[in-house]
Symmetry: C2
Subunit: 281 residues, 2 copies
């Protein structure tokens, strides 16, 4: 994937903007600085742009080691089932409190909901009376904190320099090995490498009791390990779920291909969102 990229001059990478977000940092980590980067205002927009080939690649967060799955990304996959995951990228994430003011003067804090989740404990203890304002990204938060009086942002140190803010408190996340996993999206997946993972998305027939169990049982039969499982409302009917199961293996691997064939007896709307080389973190 990266070899073919370096030969192309018209490769573009979309990410959740503005510049300086962790999505931007993860994109730079994966692709370097010689490509065209395109910021989008929302995760859904990045995924839609990748599905429609407006961009060559899209980079979106999928889960954080402290705060869990990024539900906006999972929900956007339901609307864009034709997008394909090409790779995963792990980025250590350190949130800091950025401001032009000292701690005691701060009345308002901007950040992304995930970053608030990761730093909730520190904020409860150190800024219990400041209101927390949810914005679309940690970089957007820094941009706003730079423009308003008595405000701060929970954001990355990269953004302190970018938006001329001071680091009032460094590393305020509760887990010290806080890492976010990102997906690189495109229109197809690469061939098997021998050590891949795949993300599947499906619903089960609500009239068949035990259908989820039967579906998961297929993986056991083919000795396929599951590395993550998440459920989201299917939006087809109440209390009906879209399941996201990440497995070890590539969709073209023999055992995975056979399992996917079998599992169709129990699952509806089965989509392989992609197969991608397993990265170490």
């Amino acid at each position: 994937m990266s070899a073919s990229i370096s030969l192309q001059s018209d490769v573009s990478v979309g990410y959740l903007g503005p510049p300086g977000t962790f999505s931007h940092q993860a994109s730079m980590k994966r692709f370097g600085d010689s490509l065209a980067y395109v910021p989008y205002p929302k995760i859904e927009d990045v995924i839609a742009a990748a599905a429609k080939e407006e961009i060559t690649y899209g980079v979106v967060p999928i889960e954080n080691s402290t705060f869990g799955a990024v539900v906006q990304t999972l929900d956007a996959f339901v609307d864009q089932p034709r997008v394909r995951i090409r790779a995963e990228v792990y980025l250590p994430v350190t949130q800091s409190l950025l401001s032009r003011y000292q701690l005691s003067a701060i009345r308002k804090v901007y950040s992304h909901p995930q970053a608030f989740g990761q730093s909730r404990q520190w904020l409860d203890q150190n800024l219990p009376n400041a209101s927390r304002i949810e914005v679309s990204s940690t970089a957007k938060a820094a941009e706003l904190a730079a423009a308003e009086t008595y405000t701060a942002a929970v954001s990355s140190e990269v953004c302190a320099a970018m938006y001329h803010l001071d680091v009032v408190a460094k590393d305020i996340t509760s887990a010290k090995d806080n890492t976010t996993r990102f997906f690189v999206l495109g229109q197809s997946s690469d061939l098997p490498t021998g050590d891949d993972k795949s993300l599947l998305m499906f619903t089960v027939d609500h009239r068949l009791p035990g259908a989820l169990c039967s579906a998961l049982d297929v993986f056991a039969k083919y000795k396929i390990n599951q590395t993550a499982i998440n459920s989201r409302p299917s939006r087809q009917r109440q209390w009906h779920y879209m399941f996201f199961v990440e497995i070890v293996g590539h969709e073209l691997d023999d055992n995975v291909a056979r399992a996917l064939e079998d599992i169709k007896s129990y699952c509806l709307d089965l989509v392989v969102l992609g197969s991608y080389p397993r990265q170490s973190y």
Copy 2:
């Protein structure tokens, strides 16, 4: 459960406050208006109070039919594994835009993250430029909107009357059958009724590949249907999960008791958070 309640005069019910929240409305639906109601500032506080017997019952949201699991509740169970679920309550939830101003004058909207999630589409279309401010509850949002100029709250109609606000736009949630499920918490579960559900919480040994699959397979063996599955970071190590599996059956039912015994070979820290009569919605 309700029969014994009516005979006691010192029964208290804790909920996510302030008065007027959907948690408060769900509590009133279940327990009526003759008990002592105690508002708490955070979901974690309600669960801790129920675990420590500061209150007889605690009422917390567990999932919304549009926006999915309430992760704060799941995460709080990890910290309070001794609390017990006694009942479930379904409450139809209608979010409206409340304000003292007309739509074109509104610059700022307060709400709870879940309510923002449920009304995101309407807000994107009708108030794309108003900043969204995350607060601890929809009732708190109404309280703030009543006190500040050019602000609104995404909240319930109950709160319009309570905080002297107008209903600027009625029912702005994207799904028209939007319902939230609540748990009633206490220190023990009731006996089997013949139609119960149970919520289990466990991790799996990360050194045993396929352990999650083997654990779920036990339910298939005993023909136990799973109604929901969620995972959250375990906070024990990176990319290690706490699984929440809701099954049909009571922990004292024969097949469930045998399954729980078997499943211990694959699960660590297995906790039955409670067994409770299945409610229709």
